[in-house]
């Protein structure tokens, strides 16, 4: 089992061994380029496959069977979707702000890829082992708000403008509970580094120590990735597609890619901070446990999406500022209290 656990680490070591000095600039550059390409491929395939899984899930809930023409029971549909997306005409309306219009999808995909760089997929399998791990995640994911605003403003369309402004309001409001809910975990482990946080969960995953924070993180995560019940910006029934109305072909495909990539990234962070990362019983390798736990969190997110209806925009703000934010502050207070009592008990009992 150790061999399977470390298979990717061993492959990286072998590639490094091909160079004369296994820590030279050339070796590092090669490893980084290969890792970047792999992350990009993971994101693309995950996003395409997730869109198919979402459709299947939605149809199974309403007792239908989902796409069932291509492949066994329809599981090759995502190949057809990808080919269709690449083959569509790229329409740029005349009066748009060209630079911002073309920049917005690229920025959104770039932000998602940057978040993928710090996720530890297994023991020693992290692209960039930053000491600032979780702090970097927050800083970078705030940039996606800017990308949505750029898309909404540059499209020269009233519906898009409405959608873009709604996006700004919603995403800014929900970043604060997202941030504060993870503060409890950081207080317990005293570090921002994601690999250290996983190693601190050797004995017990943090979901048992911080159940309230997990619930708040999940809700805020659903709001950050713009899924129902918080998907106003793609209001469909009211403002057609919000900031994405004027995009077609591959540009729209990039937006969808970024959205599902964000879903995977948010779930990965939830698994890292709360569910124990790559720890698990020994009969499966570590990175496989990581993937299974991501599936579990994504299942929860999809279950919520296909049951609940959308909230109204002012109820959404009310919920973020007046309900979630005080709850996170309560959580931080309780965590601090817990740490103090724990230290006191250890000091008493230990000696």
């Amino acid at each position: 089992m150790d061999a399977l656990n470390n298979v990717f680490v061993n492959i990286a070591l072998a590639i490094r061994g091909l160079f004369v000095d296994s820590h030279s600039f050339g070796a590092d550059l090669t490893i980084n380029v290969i890792v970047f390409i792999m992350l990009f491929l993971i994101m693309v395939v995950a996003a395409l496959f997730l869109s198919l899984v979402e459709r299947k899930f939605a149809h199974w809930v309403s007792q239908r069977s989902g796409p069932n023409r291509l492949g066994p029971h329809g599981w090759f549909q995502f190949i057809a979707d990808a080919v269709k997306m690449l083959g569509k005409e790229d329409i740029t309306p005349v009066n748009v702000d060209k630079f911002l219009f073309k920049m917005a999808p690229m920025m959104l995909v770039g932000v998602t890829l940057m978040v993928f760089g710090i996720i530890p997929f297994g023991e020693g399998m992290v692209a960039i082992d930053l000491d600032l791990g979780i702090f970097y995640f927050f800083a970078v994911s705030s940039l996606s708000t800017l990308a949505m605003l750029m898309a909404g403003w540059a499209s020269n369309n009233k519906y898009s403008l409405l959608g873009g402004l709604r996006a700004v309001a919603q995403m800014i409001s929900y970043e604060i509970p997202l941030l504060l809910s993870l503060l409890g975990v950081v207080m317990i482990t005293q570090t921002f580094n994601l690999s250290s946080i996983i190693e601190a969960q050797k004995t017990i995953p943090f979901i048992f120590l911080q159940p309230l924070a997990f619930a708040i993180y999940l809700i805020a995560g659903i709001a950050e990735t713009n899924r129902a019940p918080f998907d106003h910006i793609q209001g469909e029934q009211e403002i057609v597609a919000g900031p994405f109305t004027e995009y077609s072909g591959l540009r729209w495909g990039l937006f969808m890619l970024a959205e599902y990539g964000n879903v995977v990234a948010t779930s990965a962070i939830a698994v890292t901070m709360f569910l124990g990362g790559w720890y698990g019983p020994e009969f499966l390798p570590g990175w496989l446990w990581f993937i299974l736990k991501i599936w579990l969190v994504i299942f929860l997110m999809m279950w919520v999406r296909w049951t609940f209806v959308r909230m109204r925009i002012d109820h959404l703000m009310h919920f973020a500022w007046k309900i979630l934010l005080p709850l996170t502050l309560v959580n931080i207070f309780l965590t601090g209290l817990g740490i103090y009592v724990y230290d006191l008990l250890i000091a008493r009992i230990g000696g």
Partner: protein, 137 residues
């Protein structure tokens, strides 16, 4: 408690997720429609007496027929055409026919590519070589 309705909704959804599917897989499994379904009409030219009651009963002037008199001075049917582009599928023509020459049939795959093909020549369609799949009463 706040949220009870939300949890009940979640329990209904998860129950249906693992339940059976209700849909039919269409081109592989073709449904058999009840015997009174009005999906198209079929004519038996031997029974038709060219009375013209169906032409008058139709709200939209879909049917046009012509007849000639043979040697015994009885009317014999020559041509019978229905313009299906104007047909409402209301069934008043089949109810009006006194000899039950014009009847309903359950063939529902009637889509065509050109508008001219919507004018059906009912006598030609009644020949067994031209009859498409489906039951005829």
């Amino acid at each position: 408690m706040f949220g009870k309705g939300l949890l009940k909704g979640l329990s209904i959804t998860i129950k249906r997720l693992y339940g059976p599917n209700l849909t039919e897989y269409y081109p592989e499994v073709k449904p058999v429609l009840p015997s009174r379904t009005r999906s198209s009409m079929v004519l038996e030219p031997e029974k038709c007496i060219s009375c013209g009651l169906c032409v008058n009963a139709c709200p939209n002037q879909v049917i046009s027929l012509s007849s000639e008199k043979d040697e015994k001075n009885k009317k014999v049917l020559k041509t019978y055409q229905m313009n299906m582009g104007r047909c409402l599928l209301c069934g008043l023509c089949t109810e009006a026919c006194p000899t039950k020459a014009l009847k309903l049939c359950q063939v529902y795959e009637n889509a065509v590519y050109h508008r001219e093909e919507l004018i059906w020549d009912m006598i030609a369609r009644s020949k067994p070589a031209n009859m498409s799949s489906g039951k005829v009463e």
